[in-house]
């Protein structure tokens, strides 16, 4: 009889531990916060990349105006969102032979979510699709449509209120962008500033 009670007690204790573990996991998922308070409803982040470049070995493409519109929300305590607009203008290459005839973002909205890897918070953007048409008589890619696809994870800096995308952040989040059949480098620094209801409020992820 005593043995039976002990077994039930142990089972309940195990269940309690499991519940606690799940609760911890859920609360550990990063959320969007303004002035330290979790975002309720949605907010729009609008901005332009401070610096962004796509590189296939030997050819880098940069856009002077890399704007973006990101709608964010918290769902069950986890930060999520959608990149709804990414207008790209004045794009050039580091090659004297190649120009960018056209570039656009397709398959929008791109889903995004927040995640934590080894104490660092990241925003992961999925379903990225950016076709780039290069031009230039001497450019080997002249007339070729190169489509960048995949997902990208960027590290969030709560102090600077920026998201940084580079080879390390993509590796850390297990994401990759591909073009011409291979992984390409994407370096970008994006400010994370609210534009709608929480203007000029400190945005953080935790």
């Amino acid at each position: 009889m005593r043995t039976k009670q002990t077994a039930i007690g142990a089972a309940l204790a195990a269940l309690a531990v499991l519940c606690a573990m799940f609760a911890t996991t859920a609360s550990a998922a990063p959320a969007w916060k303004f002035e330290g308070k979790a975002l309720e409803g949605t907010e729009v982040i609008l901005g332009g990349a401070l610096d962004s470049a796509l590189t296939v070995p030997g050819l880098t493409t940069k856009c002077e105006n890399f704007l973006y519109k990101l709608t964010i929300k918290n769902e069950a305590g986890t930060g999520k969102g959608e990149v709804t607009e990414v207008p790209l203008y004045n794009c050039t290459t580091n090659s004297s032979a190649c120009t960018v005839k056209s570039i656009k973002s397709e398959a929008l909205p791109w889903a995004s979510k927040l995640t934590t890897v080894s104490t660092t918070n990241y925003i992961v953007i999925e379903g990225v699709k950016v076709p780039i048409l290069y031009d230039g008589e001497e450019c080997v890619l002249g007339g070729v449509l190169v489509t960048v696809t995949g997902s990208a994870g960027g590290a969030i800096d709560n102090t600077a209120e920026t998201a940084t995308f580079n080879a390390s952040t993509l590796t850390a989040t297990g994401t990759s962008l591909k073009a011409l059949g291979q992984k390409i480098e994407w370096n970008g620094l994006f400010p994370t500033e609210a534009f709608q209801w929480h203007r000029e409020q400190a945005l953080s992820v935790s």
């Binding site: 230039g136 001497e138 450019c139 080997v140 007339g143 011409l180």
Partner: protein
Amino acid sequence: MQSNRTRAVATALLAVALAALGLAGSAQAKLVGNYTKFVQCPYPNLEVKKCIYSVTESGEVILGKKTVPIEKQVILQGGFGAAIEEKEGAEFAKFYAATNGITLSKAPQNVPGGLLGIVPDASSPFLVKALIKFFLENSLTGVNSTLELAKPASDIRVSENNLAGEIGTAMQMPVMVHLENPFLGKKCFVGSATNPITWKLGTGTTAPPAPNKAITGSAGEIEFLEEGRILVAKNSKLVDNAWSAPKAAGCGGILSFLVDPIINSQLGTTSAGYNTAILKGTLNVASAAAVRKNNTENP
């Protein structure tokens, strides 16, 4: 008078000789550095937009029941124009032959099993058996398989977008397989100009009929040279396993009526789903305008 005439004739001959030398000089390309690979590209033709120099270093061709590994380099060179032909949802460019006429190099590949592998002694008629015995006794048993273009190079089609995007057909080539051995004669082919094997090589994933299964190619590791004027794709893999091949024909000379059926029986079914081409190597592509410029800058 005689002296003046002789001098005039000599001068004229000298002028002709110099002109000939001059022409020869202008025909001789003066490409340097990374551009030297494209020496056989018909870049003086302004319709040519890109030059190509593709080296297949390994891979295999499976024809029915026979697998021939690619052990000797095969070079495809020439140029291609603007993509103007719409086909299968992609735009294709016309190919231009290499200036030396060797668009596809003839690299004889060893057929494993040799002569007995394709004309087995046991199942052959007496006459064939006797001939094979002669060839065996004289160590003439090696069989080579050489890939050749079945049609002019202008029948090759290239889709750069499919190549870059790893989808669909990147290069369509009409080819034939030349089986070579003294016993087989000089006209033993699988495929012909009128009935070629059409390879639709791609860098993506194939969708072949059964029993073949999907295989995946690769654009390889891409690097740009000369500030984006040259593209080098190392370890590229072009694949097609949905092609069909006609029966072997012309094998064994006057005995082809006896030998062809034996070879075809050894090859087995060569309809779509039973054949595979996997070409691994390095693909070099350059802008023809950049090659032209390199030529003029280096007289």
